[in-house]
């Protein structure tokens, strides 16, 4: 896979940096002076109450929304005003809270298209199913536990299956940075850990930096190197999972008493 | 000698131009039935296949070809729309099937190309427009301003071109104050009428036909425009019955030839009267000019066969003999006699009149009718109409042969 970020820590600009992001929707402030630095090679979990602005943050980082103030940098390059595709071309991929798939294509085709988009399309008359990345993509499907539905069209899949395939599609781009919005919500709890385990392993092996929004604290505790807590458009706290998950504010606002 | 003489006829059975196409077909059915009742042409009965021009150019060409080739038609009658004429004429020539252009107005056909198999059994736009100009100048010599409201397609444009060119040389002091080309099939002329009311031209020309003409005249009538300007409507003969009382007295009406159900020279003839009755019985309407054009094509066909049979002393003519018979053929439909010129162009007289509400009919009839001889209204062979007209002058009107009738 990619080699760009093999070295985990380098001096120089952080992989992704935001400075003082502000965005308001009418009366709602979804980002309020958000400044974040995301170092290469780490898994960052973002947690926070509903409506705190987590998805909005991913939207801004990938160019879907333009902040009213502030800037986004990718390895020092200002990408604030770039459209999503330009940012994706720079090695950022994203999986969505609500899966974004080509619903009339099969699961495998979704991945093959992703691979074709990644590597460029050389022979215009070669069948998509024959491209050389096919095995690689089957492997990816396997990784997210969906190999058995490879030939099913997406409309025929259940919500959980779609979420997993959505992640695989993002992964197929071989990004340097992978942003995932609640990757395990909708995935049956019996599969959650298994899938995350394999996924995180694969990401580490490929040296992919990941940021994932998550509501399942079990997952956060197990798979995040670092946790950021969002609240009302702000980064309230940041630290290791242990620190954060014990923090009384977090327990009160996010985790809830009982499970803790 | 064939068992039946098969002919094919293209006509509009659908679409807006079916106002002409359907009456022509109804008339054709009557002509054929009448002739077959008398035993047909030299004992051969006639059978017509109709092709709908409204079905589009592909269907038309395919059908034309099918009828002409595998359908075994010996002679074709095509067509109404000038676009279709342009398509069919070379096709007929290539297929080597004699084709009578029975209702095709564009003067370009024989001016731009030569044909051996294509004949026109009527006049053309040039003769029709020149007759209108001549009638206008004779009856209304003092007008100063004119405006035109024509349909925005080839006929509307071409006919104005001819009319305008003629006016420029025959009455150079006339000012054109407005030129409107609303789109074909326009449902509303209110804006044009408002504009015309503000402009107040002495004369308003419209060569429109069918629903467009009806709507334009009706709306003009409702809004009083017809009281202030004289309308020149070279195709209004085909709308008389429908317009009813909305076409008041004093406006100029033409008929694309000498076509009028009260044709002053023909109305007392027995064949004319009996056809009018038959037609009325079959359709409930009075015939419009396309019926006359159909009668001319039918007459030309019959005359050609009879002439070829007589000339050659055969039972049934070969194709060459038939074609030879068309040279200079003379024939007569429901109007005056016609003949074919050397360039295969028919020479047709032109009837113009002024509307009058006499009370004899629930619609306007014509008075002060003039029938112009067709000879003077066509350019000499080899000359294009516009060039020829540019060389004319004010004295042209006086050179025309014309008969005048009160009604």
């Amino acid at each position: 896979m990619t080699s760009a970020t093999q070295g985990t820590r380098r001096s120089g600009p952080p992989l992704l940096e935001t400075r003082d992001l502000v965005i308001k929707f009418g009366g709602v402030t979804a980002a309020n002076n958000v400044s974040m630095q995301i170092e290469a090679g780490r898994n960052l979990a973002i947690i926070g109450p509903n409506g705190a602005g987590k998805t909005t943050f991913l939207n801004i980082c990938t160019g879907w929304l333009k902040p009213q103030q502030g800037k986004v940098f990718l390895e020092g390059e200002d990408i604030t005003t770039l459209p999503p595709r330009k940012i994706v071309q720079r090695g950022v991929a994203r999986a969505f809270q609500i899966p974004q798939l080509f619903t009339e294509h099969t699961a495998l085709e979704n991945l093959l298209i992703s691979a074709a988009a990644r590597d460029g399309m050389r022979n215009p008359l070669q069948s998509l199913h024959r491209i050389r990345q096919r095995d690689e993509m089957m492997h990816l499907l396997d990784l997210v536990n969906c190999a058995d539905v490879a030939d099913r069209t997406v409309v025929e899949l259940s919500e959980g299956q779609r979420k997993l395939i959505d992640i695989a599609v993002a992964l197929a781009l071989k990004p340097r940075l992978l942003l995932m919005d609640e990757p395990t919500s909708g995935v049956a709890s019996s599969q959650k850990h298994e899938v995350m385990e394999i996924l995180v392993g694969a990401l580490a092996e490929a040296g992919v930096t990941s940021v994932f929004v998550e509501h399942d604290m079990g997952i956060v505790a197990r798979h995040a190197d670092e946790v950021a807590v969002w609240n009302a458009g702000n980064v309230q706290l940041r630290g290791t999972p242990d620190e954060i998950l014990e923090h009384p504010d977090v327990i009160r606002d996010v985790i809830g008493e009982e499970v803790a | 000698k064939p068992e039946t003489l098969k002919i094919g006829m293209t006509t509009f059975l659908t679409g807006p131009a079916s106002v002409f196409g359907v009456p022509a077909r109804d008339a054709m059915d009557i002509f054929v039935a009448n002739l077959n009742a008398e035993g047909g042409i030299n004992g051969v009965p006639i059978e017509v296949t109709y092709i709908d021009e409204g079905a589009g150019a592909e269907a038309l060409t395919s059908e034309f070809r099918r009828v002409a080739q595998s359908g075994g038609a010996e002679i074709m009658l095509a067509s109404i729309s000038s676009g279709n004429c342009q398509t069919i004429a070379p096709l007929a020539e290539d297929l080597q099937v004699p084709n009578l252009m029975w209702d095709c107005g564009t003067q370009r056909i024989f001016e731009e190309n030569e044909y051996d198999y294509v004949f026109r059994t009527q006049g053309n736009a040039t003769s029709e427009m020149l007759a209108a100009v001549a009638y206008l100048l004779k009856t209304n010599p003092d007008f100063k301003t004119i405006a035109v409201v024509n349909q925005d397609y080839a006929w509307g444009r071409d006919s104005w071109d001819i009319f305008h060119t003629a006016l420029e040389v025959m009455k150079p002091d006339v000012e054109v104050v407005g030129e409107f080309f609303p789109k074909f099939g326009s449902p509303d002329f209110s804006t044009e009428i408002s504009r015309l009311q503000a402009l107040r031209p002495d004369v308003i020309l419209s060569t429109s036909w069918g629903g467009d003409l009806d709507t334009f005249v009706q709306q003009s009538f409702q809004r009083g425009l017809m009281n202030t300007s004289t309308f020149v409507l070279p195709l209004a003969e085909s709308s008389l019955e429908r317009l009813g009382p909305s076409l008041p007295a004093g406006h100029i009406v033409g008929a694309r030839g000498d076509h009028y159900f009260l044709h002053p020279e023909r109305r007392d003839d027995a064949d004319f009267q009996s056809f009018m009755e038959q037609y009325k019985e079959a359709t409930g309407d009075i015939p419009v000019y396309s019926v006359f054009h159909a009668s001319q094509a039918f007459a030309a066909m019959q005359a050609a066969y009879e002439k070829a049979i007589a000339d050659n002393g055969v039972d049934w003519p070969s194709e060459e003999q038939l074609l030879a018979a068309f040279e200079g053929l003379e024939f007569q439909g429901l109007g005056r006699p016609l003949y074919l010129r050397e360039d295969n162009q028919g020479v047709e007289s032109q009837l113009m009149g002024t509307s009058a509400q006499t009370g004899d009919y629930p619609f306007a009839t014509l008075e002060n009718i003039m029938i112009f001889d067709g000879d003077g209204l066509l350019p000499p062979i080899g000359e294009t109409s516009i060039e020829w007209i540019k060389g004319l002058d004010a004295s042209f009107v006086d050179t025309l042969q014309v008969e005048t009738y009160d009604n």
Binding site: F102 | E58, A59, L91, Y153, D158
Partner: protein, 342 residues
Amino acid sequence: MLDTSQRSAPKLSDKAGGLRSTRSLLTLAGVLLLAAVPLIAPSMQLLINLALAKGLAVLGVTILLRAGQVSFGHALFFGVSAYVGAFLMASMPQADLILVLIAGVAGAAISGLLVGLFVVRYRGIFFGMLNLAFSMIFWSILEKFYHITGGADGIRLARPTVLGMALERPEFEAVLFYLSLVLMVGLGWFTLRWFASPVGQIFQTIKTNETRLEYLGLSPKRVLLSGYLLSAALCGVGGSLMAMTQGVVTPEYVWWVRSAEMVFIAVLGGAGSVRGAFIGALIYEIVRVYASAFAGDIWQLLLGSFLLIIILFAPGGIMGIADSVMNRRSKSQPTNLGEDAQ
């Protein structure tokens, strides 16, 4: 999870393989049958030639349907190409058939690029109506500048030479017929391959999710434009062939009803199906000509009813019917997922 799909997947593709070969055989038979038309049914030759020309244009519309976009103005490219041919013949009476074709297609492609750059920003009804608007603007130009374009009468198109030879009508028509046939097979094959290729597949994702497309690093507009160009060029091929077959071009070539008709045929054949485009065009033209020949003034009614029946009872179009007939025959084992799981 239903693991049935895994088991049935190879079966499905076996069956697809079987279907594919039946289909290729039938296609081959169909092409051969068409190739024999001038010999066995010469009176059908012109009709079929016109239908093939139209089928190529319909193929252009079909391409856009695959991206979920319906254009009500593709007759524009059909007409541009036809008029380019007519003007070329008028200024260069000795021009060759191949030259006319190439010039026409180039004209269509260039106008496709110009219009495309603008319309690819829009989707759905806006896309459809803007295409209509451009075709109607062109139509009005053809009608207005009648000194140049011949207005509604159009322009006659003399017979071009064929590889330098001047041919009489019958020979020329034979050449055109087989040329159309070859183009149908060649371009049809190309389009099939293109659909299956990564580029073509990406083009088809416009229909379902542009957000994901953007997040794959691709520009939906550019992707749509590429297909738009191809579709315009195909319409151009059809237009050139039609113009040379008819020997005359008129503004009717560009009239919106003709665009609508193309969409209609595309769906009749089976929306998005390459073979369907041609089969649809053939059936449409034949039904239309015979309906208008034998039912004079109610042909539209018959054609409309025929289409209604197809849409209601076989929404997959004629190709859908063909497929289900073949399916039924090749249904040796049940492929229903549910049954498998038992």
